[in-house]
């Protein structure tokens, strides 16, 4: 689901940086580790073995040496090896594994919403908070079946050249084609989309859920001709670079990269940004048993989360990381106090219940 789209995208950002020489290989691997992402796409490496932790993530982007770079610190501390499987912890895959009794993963990076879906299906273990230090993250990030290791935001980014220096002040301006003529972009995956439409229509943050889908569609309908729907983070940068759109609802990590490219032209606002949390889950009957929670606990460490922010812009789930940040770090971080002033949080419980139906309704709506 969307969390996987985001995690893959974050890895791509790191890979691009590595290729441009902005970061070294080691930092790159560390960053992937923080994301719970890794390269080595080796089916078969992930063998059930009680002396190691097998982490499943969305893989793809990187080199095979990561397991060593990422596993070493944890191995030193615990004596356990960390093996990464990039096969992608789709809900369906986890379900098939658990039901057939052949679980090979210990921890999966599937997001808060997936953790709820899995929990409801009795497919994942409860997070053992006698081992994982719950106090390291805010309450909303420590769910019964999942705990967050990073966060990201949907923000309103704009092309200041096209708006002649005028900054939008909130989502309402997304719909103000008189004041800001030109095309817009928003995501074709539902998470964080109807929220902004409803806020633009005057719905108070507290009244967002359950989402008033009909109201959102009604507001969006006259705009459809002016909207290009994106499906991956790189595409959002492309659309802005090519002057195809003047503003859009995009991930803050991509807005940050655009801004670094052309600081005077590409900007974004934090007003009414929509925060999402990633989460680790533990499939039922995982091979390493309780040991996995020590690993999960180690990913909540502020030092590692800061590295992740600096390399890719993913916000930390541990608020203690804030104290370690330079002003530059804090400026691009969605959990910094000023940036979070008018922030709303995506409601995972709502999505766990309605996402499938909502996603299909939304696709039908935008394509008709």
């Amino acid at each position: 689901m969307t969390i996987s789209h985001f995690a893959q995208d974050a890895a791509q950002i790191a890979l691009d940086k590595l290729n441009r020489g902005e970061i070294d290989r080691r930092s790159f691997l560390t960053a992937l580790g923080g994301l719970g992402l890794v390269a080595a796409f080796k089916p078969g490496v992930a063998m059930a073995d009680a002396s190691e932790i097998v982490v499943c993530n969305w893989g793809g982007a990187a080199a095979d040496a990561f397991a060593k770079a990422y596993g070493d610190p944890f191995t030193k501390k615990s004596g356990m090896k960390v093996v990464i499987d990039g096969a992608g912890p789709a809900v369906g895959t986890i379900r098939a594994m658990v039901e057939s009794g052949k679980v090979i993963w210990d921890a999966t990076d599937g997001g808060m919403i997936d953790s709820l879906t899995l929990g409801k299906g009795n497919l994942v273990e409860k997070i053992d908070y006698s081992i994982v230090d719950k106090s390291q993250v805010p309450e909303a990030f420590a769910g019964e079946y999942g705990i967050s290791n990073y966060v990201y935001s949907n923000v309103l980014a704009y092309d200041a050249e096209a708006t002649k220096g005028v900054a939008p002040t909130g989502w309402a301006d997304f719909f103000d084609t008189a004041k800001f003529p030109g095309k817009r972009t928003m995501c074709k995956w539902i998470q964080g989309q109807l929220e902004f439409v409803l806020m633009a229509d005057g719905v108070k943050p507290a009244d967002l859920y359950p989402l008033d889908v009909d109201r959102a569609f009604k507001k969006l309908k006259p705009m459809l001709g002016d909207i290009i729907f994106w499906e991956g983070g790189a595409q959002t940068q492309q659309l802005f670079r090519e002057g195809e759109v003047v503003m859009g609802n995009i991930w803050h990590t991509r807005a940050n990269l655009l801004n670094k490219e052309k600081p005077d032209q590409f900007k974004w606002i934090w007003e009414q940004n929509i925060l999402s949390a990633s989460a680790w889950s533990v499939p039922k009957g995982n091979p390493a048993g309780k040991k996995v929670f020590e690993f999960i606990n180690s990913t909540l460490d502020p030092a590692g989360q800061l590295v992740l922010l600096q390399l890719m812009g993913n916000g930390p789930s541990n608020p203690k990381t804030l104290a370690l940040m330079s002003p530059q770090d804090a400026a691009v971080n969605p959990t910094t106090k000023e940036n979070a002033a008018s922030q709303i949080m995506l409601n995972p419980a709502y999505y766990a219940e309605h996402e499938t139906e909502l996603q299909n309704k939304y696709l039908d709506f935008i394509s008709s």
Binding site: I228, D364, I366, S367
Partner: protein, 280 residues
């Protein structure tokens, strides 16, 4: 002879096994899922017909496929017709140029079209420079962009199919028509075109069936607003986990394509396309 036949049959065994394991078995699995997920029965198919959203996706798919087929076949016929009238050397160069796109990935081709068609793209730039238009045209991220991309993808296939058919037509028939006083236009409409029907029918069938299952081009050039069956199925598999919907829709698509091909093969024009012609 009998021995030879047996050996020949044996030789096809490895390929058949691969096809069965990697192709037939997964398709049967999809078929099985469509009647068992989430519970056994034909409810998924019932839901499919009751689902208005699926109906709209099917209509979009048909619209795009028919448009693509008509444009591709007409344009390809013109190109193929020109190629068979060229000198041998020029024909080789032309056929080479037709083949070039075959070696370029469908992704690269889609992105190239974006570069050409976008608001600040090559085409809009040129038109604005020369003063033909004053503000950029919306050429991509809509139905038009999807159609352009798909026609471009299909044309090499259609050109080659038509070229094969046209080069088999006996030119002495045209000479005979001319000697009987037919004008060039009459020769085209009353001799060339009727003789090209088998090729046209084959190209039309091929392009149409191929278009029905298109994924990458509509997804990239349509920007979410041109939702075709293949993309819809892919979303139901990977994003929404609606396997019931995905598998029943896949099976229906396969069935419909099968029926179209079966019905088309019974038409005289298509049968003629497959009949061995005497070599000249």
């Amino acid at each position: 002879m009998r021995n030879f036949k047996r050996t020949a049959l044996l030789l096809t065994l490895p390929a058949s096994l691969v096809a069965i394991c990697l192709y037939a078995a997964p398709i049967l699995q999809v078929l099985a899922l469509s009647v068992t997920e989430p519970k056994p029965g034909l409810a998924n198919y019932q839901n499919l017909f009751a689902n208005a959203a699926v109906g709209r996706v099917v209509v979009t798919t048909l619209k795009v496929s028919i448009m693509t087929t008509v444009l591709t076949v007409v344009a390809s016929y013109i190109v193929a017709f020109a190629i068979i009238h060229m000198s041998a050397g020029l024909r080789r160069v032309s056929l080479f140029l037709v083949l070039v796109p075959f070696w370029i990935s469908v992704l690269v081709r889609a992105f190239s079209w974006i570069t050409i068609l976008r608001r600040r793209g090559v085409l809009n730039g040129a038109l604005m420079e020369t003063g033909v238009i004053s503000s950029p045209l919306d050429l991509v991220y809509n139905l038009l962009g999807v159609t352009i991309g798909m026609v471009h993808y299909m044309m090499p296939f259609a050109i080659l199919l038509l070229y094969a058919n046209l080069s088999d037509i006996d030119r002495r028939i045209m000479q005979a028509a001319r000697s009987l006083g037919a004008r060039p236009a009459t020769i085209f409409w009353r001799v060339w075109l009727p003789l090209s029907l088998p090729g046209l029918a084959l190209a039309t069938l091929f392009v149409f069936v191929f278009s029905l299952g298109f994924l990458v081009t509509p997804a990239l050039l349509g920007a979410g607003k041109t939702l075709m069956i293949a993309e819809y199925i892919s979303v139901q598999i990977s994003s929404t986990s609606r396997w019931d919907l995905a598998t029943s829709l896949s099976t229906m698509l396969l069935l419909v394509v099968g029926i179209i091909v079966f019905a088309a093969m019974r038409s005289p024009a298509l049968r003629a396309a497959f009949v061995a012609r005497p070599q000249q």
